[in-house]
Each structure stands twice: as C-alpha cells, then as structure tokens.
Amino acid sequence: MTRRDDVAAVRASSRASALLQWGRQLAGAALLALGFAGVAQAAIDAYTFKDEAERARYAELTRELRCPKCQNQDIADSNAPIAADLRKEIYRMLGEGQSNQQIIDFMVDRYGEFVRYKPELNAHTWLLWFGPAGLLLGGAVLIGVIVVRRRRSGREDADVLSDEERQRLAHLLDKNRE
C-alpha cells in the first residue's frame, strides 16, 4: 500500500464515522418524531364511559376497525368525518350494551370485510393469515436442504482426490518444474 492510499483510507474511515454519527442522530430524531406522532395522531372525542371496561372496549374496537376513507388508519386515529361517525356509532352501541361481535358485524354488514384489521379466518383469508409464516418456513427448509446437500457433496468430492486425479496432478506438477 502506498502513502496516498493510506491517507485516502483514513479519510474514508473518518467520513464513515461521521456518516455513522449522522445516521445515529437521524435515527434518534425519527424515534422522537414517532413518539410525538403517537400523541398527535389519536383523534379527540369527549365521550364519557360507564366504567373502565367499557372505555377499554371502545379503545379496542376503534383500533381494530379500519377507516373506509383513509384506508391505512384505524378509526381511532383518523380525523375523517366518516371515522368520527363510526366512533359515535360504536359509542352508541356500547351504551346499548351490544357485544363486540355485534358491533363488528354491524360494521362489516355496511362496509364489508374490508373494515376489519383482523379479518375472520376463512377460505378467502387463510393465505393472509398463514402466508408470511409459510414463506418463512419454506425459506428456512430450502436453506436447510441446500446447506445439508453442500456439506455432503463437499465431503465426497472436493476434499478427497481419486487415484486418477492424484496421478494427473503429479503429472502436471512435474511438467511445470521442467
């Protein structure tokens, strides 16, 4: 390695560490922003509940149901008017003493299976439920098979030369010396 290369390497490494530092700061800022986002996102309604259990059910239901208008938000998070309507409806139904299942069915009857973030397990949704785990498992099995095969074939072929090959090698080496 020449002197120039060394300087360049040092520069590169200091640049890399600066980059790393900057990356860390950025990650910290992003985390902080996420923390605030969590606070800022939840829409505010002034509902009074009978007891803590009802409040918890309200929170659970509004997190489990998806806003039909702003599709990647649950209705607890969304400020869309339709989400506010649905929250009001959930509050009303909770007050009437309806069960979680009744409330979810009510929503599905009107807006379709789409509004559930946890869709029912049926013929249409099994791929959704088990696809990712299946792919992961399939990948693991595939890697396992490949690794085992390589090991086996490696032991048989690569390390050990047959007599014929050894002769050829010796022959080639002799030839080189001449």
């Binding site: 039909p68 208008k69 599709q71 008017p81 339709i82 309507d85 649905l86 409806e89 599905v108 009857d109 009107r110 807006y111 379709g112 299976e113 789409f114």
Partner: protein, 178 residues
C-alpha cells in the same frame, strides 16, 4: 439437481411480476359494497324540499339510481349535469342529501336543475351509515323491489354511465316489463 429446477426462480419471478403489475391498475379506494343483493335499508326521513316524511316504500316500484350527494361535495357539481341529462332521458333518480345544510341543498336544487324525483334529507348521515357510504358522490342502482344491485363510488360521467350502469339499468327496466 434436475434441469427444470433451474427455471423455478424465473417462473416465480414472472408470477410475482404479473401479480404486482396487475396491482398497479387496481384502485384500492374503490371498495366492493357489502350491500349488493341486499334490500335498501329502512329509513324515515324528511324530504329536502318540503319536509314531507319519506320512507323506503317511496323508492319502490321502478328500478332507479339512488344518488348520494351534498352541496359540500365538489365532485357532485361535476356529476350534476350528467344526472340532469339522464333524468331528461327518463332515468329515475332519487337523491340522498348526505350530511348537508338543508337550506343550501334547496338553493342548489333551485339554482341548478333538479334531476331528482324525490330527495331524502339525511342531515345526520344515518341513512348514509346504513348504506355504507364513506364519501360523496356514491350511486346505488336498485331494482323495483328495492334490492341494491350495484354501487358506483365516485362521479358518474358519460363513460361510467355507458360502460357500467346503462346496461344494468336497462336490464332491470326490461325485467319489469316482462
């Protein structure tokens, strides 16, 4: 390893690419209505113009379009001339004035043409909720018995009418004649 196995990654890639390519042209904001094939929900609401009470029974007898609209809805203004033209051609159109100020709605109908045979005043959005409405305009096609046959989300323009609605509406009209 068998030779055909070498083609496997290519086949997988092509399959995936095909799937994603199709996904590019799907519109995720268009939800399939959960209400198709189900009866139009019961309601008891005043008319926009004179406050006369209206119920589901008022919508029966002829296949019709039920158009959900509001003066706050910019796209409804775009749609309005098309509805007017359809009404002049003899298409039966009922209106659901969704979450609107009634005086504004009356003014709108006076200023523009009124294509609606009758107009339901759904200021609170309760009928809209039962219809699974999540915005405006939305248009339902109902048959003479008040069963919802089709739902279109978004503006009805000439193309939408010709390609999606006209055929089905005509089929329902013909069904009634037999």
């Amino acid at each position: 390893m068998k030779r055909w196995m070498l083609l496997l990654p290519l086949v997988l890639f092509l399959g995936m690419a095909g799937l994603l390519y199709r996904g590019l042209y799907l519109d995720p904001s268009e939800l399939p209505s959960a209400l198709i094939g189900k009866p139009f929900p019961e309601f008891s609401l005043p008319a926009v113009q004179d406050g006369k009470p209206l119920t589901r029974a008022d919508l029966l007898g002829k296949p019709a379009l039920v158009n959900v609209w509001g003066t706050w809805c910019v796209a409804c203004r775009v749609e309005h001339p098309v509805l007017t033209k359809l009404a002049q051609q003899g298409v039966v159109i009922y209106g659901v004035n969704y979450k609107d100020v009634n005086a504004d709605a009356q003014k709108w109908l006076k200023e523009f043409h009124d294509p609606y045979q009758l107009n339901i005043n759904d200021e609170a959005g309760s009928l809209g909720l039962n219809l699974g409405v999540y915005g405006a305009p939305e248009t339902f096609l109902i048959d003479a018995k008040g069963v919802i046959r089709y739902k279109h989300v978004g503006v009805i323009d000439e193309t939408v009418w010709r390609e999606k609605l006209a055929g089905q509406y005509q089929a329902l009209v013909d069904e009634g004649r037999e």
